[in-house]
Amino acid sequence: MKLQLAKYLLMLSLSGFVLLGGSGCADIKPWVKPYERDKLADPIMSLSRHGFADTYIHHVYQARESARGAEGGTGGGCGCN
């Protein structure tokens, strides 16, 4: 049951991903302007500051715990391209 729910959520999210990509979301105004992202751009706000050293510590836990996945690393930083 939990698994079915997870798969449903995954498919729903993927559908949203595709739809958002098609629309471009041009009408939504960013509430944090690019010039207001100096704190977010600070390296101390990176979710993965240490490169592969961060990946390695996930490896340490995966080998000794049953839980796996969703370790993160997606995003972080200011998104100011």
Binding site: L3, A6, K29, A67, R68, G76
Partner: protein, 387 residues
């Protein structure tokens, strides 16, 4: 049974799952290609009778404004004398080598990534291909990523030429959201399916000797042929009123073997000046046992699936970590835009609730041995050069 053959839960699980972490690292960027860089790591794990160390070298180089290539070389040198090894055999040494290659392609606000990983050791071969896509939305306040990976493993046993297959699939979805000028939020969902030889060919479970109840005998592990797991995590990062950051995260995990797990993690980063940064973290993990786990089965083949891996038992662990980081920015060293030197150390304490230490000194009836526990130190020395 070759004597150098026992410590495989660590090896089997870690060698087949490291590619997932590599995959995560490749999806960790919004719609900007990462800079050209060399990432060198020396890692060391020591605890519970295990010593694992080795180097890791990752090189990233762009080819034009839209393409970035990566190559990665990683080694685990293992010296094993854990409780699982000592219970039935002698200590042994082995080495695992992993090689990866990947390409990232930037198109407007999207990044598409493709890669391949091979992991090799004397009794296990793992091959993985992966694809990921990420896209920025809402004025780059939202980043959504999706990844898929497929793996083919050959599971062998020392002393035998026969191998068993193991197939893996991984689905990953991530959202990173800018909440405010000082706050980030991340959501991650990951579903992993395995099919094939999932038990460790070297591990055994134990049952009460029918001829003498003060004794126990060993038998082969028998796991289900399939496993599907789902993990969901929420993490947030906050820039404090002074220059420092605080990160918190929670992960829920569940799988078709009946294991539920919870992970809570908090970390703090505190710059001392423009070059030196200190950090501290704590992490707590707890899990329930697998449906087919038992420390001591009542008789031989007493149920369809039989498992006594301590990783399937009910246990918890807690981590305390600290780190020191030195950074140089552009202009100090010619040709190098950024240098980051880090030393990180983590202390982890594992406490098992229903896995007993059969190597404990003293005379105990089966099932009355002391519960097992151990601690480990993990150290990482990292140098990152960006060009």
């Amino acid at each position: 049974m070759p004597k150098a053959a026992q410590e495989a839960v660590v090896a089997v699980i870690s060698r087949s799952l490291l590619w997932l972490s590599v995959l995560v690292s490749f999806t960790a960027y919004s719609a900007t290609l990462p800079p050209d860089a060399v990432d060198i790591l020396q890692h060391n794990y020591e605890g519970g009778g295990m010593k694992i160390d080795g180097p890791s070298i990752l090189v990233r180089k762009s080819v034009g404004p839209q393409v970035s290539l990566t190559g990665h070389y990683y080694v685990d040198s293992v010296s094993a004398a854990s409780v699982d090894v000592l219970a039935r055999a002698s200590a042994y040494e082995e080495e695992r080598t992993e090689i990866s290659g990947g390409v990232d392609y930037l198109h407007e606000k999207s990044i598409l990534s493709l890669g391949y990983t091979n992991s090799s050791e004397n009794d296990y071969e793992a091959n993985t291909v992966y694809f990921s896509a990420s896209q920025d939305f809402f004025g780059d306040l939202t980043s959504v990523s999706f990844a898929y990976a497929k793996g083919w493993d050959d599971v062998g046993t020392r002393g035998s030429t026969e191998t068993d297959e193991l197939k893996r699939q991984n689905y990953q979805l991530g959202v990173a959201q800018v909440i405010s000028k000082s706050m980030l939020l991340g959501l991650d969902l990951e579903v992993i399916t395995d099919e094939g030889k999932l038990e460790n060919p070297y591990r055994r479970n134990r049952y009460i000797d029918p001829a003498n109840s003060a004794n126990f005998l060993y038998q082969q592990e028998v796991y289900p042929d399939t496993r599907t797991s789902t993990a969901f995590a929420v993490r947030s990062m906050y820039y404090l009123p002074y220059r420092a950051s605080l990160k918190g995260e929670y992960r829920f995990f569940t799988d078709t073997w009946g294991i539920d797990a919870h992970t809570v993690d908090a970390s703090y980063v505190h710059p001392l000046d423009n070059h030196w940064t200190l950090e501290a973290k704590t992490r707590f993990y707890t899990q329930g046992q697998a449906d087919f786990y038992s420390d001591l089965f009542p008789f031989e083949n007493s149920q369809t699936h039989l498992g006594r891996d301590k990783e399937l038992s009910k246990f918890s662990d807690i981590t305390f970590g600290f780190g020191i980081n030195y950074e140089l920015q552009q202009g100090v060293i010619p040709g190098i835009k950024r240098l980051q030197l880090s030393f990180l150390a983590d202390y982890i304490k594992f406490d098992y609730d229903n896995f007993r230490d059969v190597t404990a000194e003293g005379s105990f009836l089966p099932g009355e041995e002391p519960l097992y526990s151990f601690s480990a130190w993990v150290t990482r020395s990292s140098l990152i050069l960006e060009f």
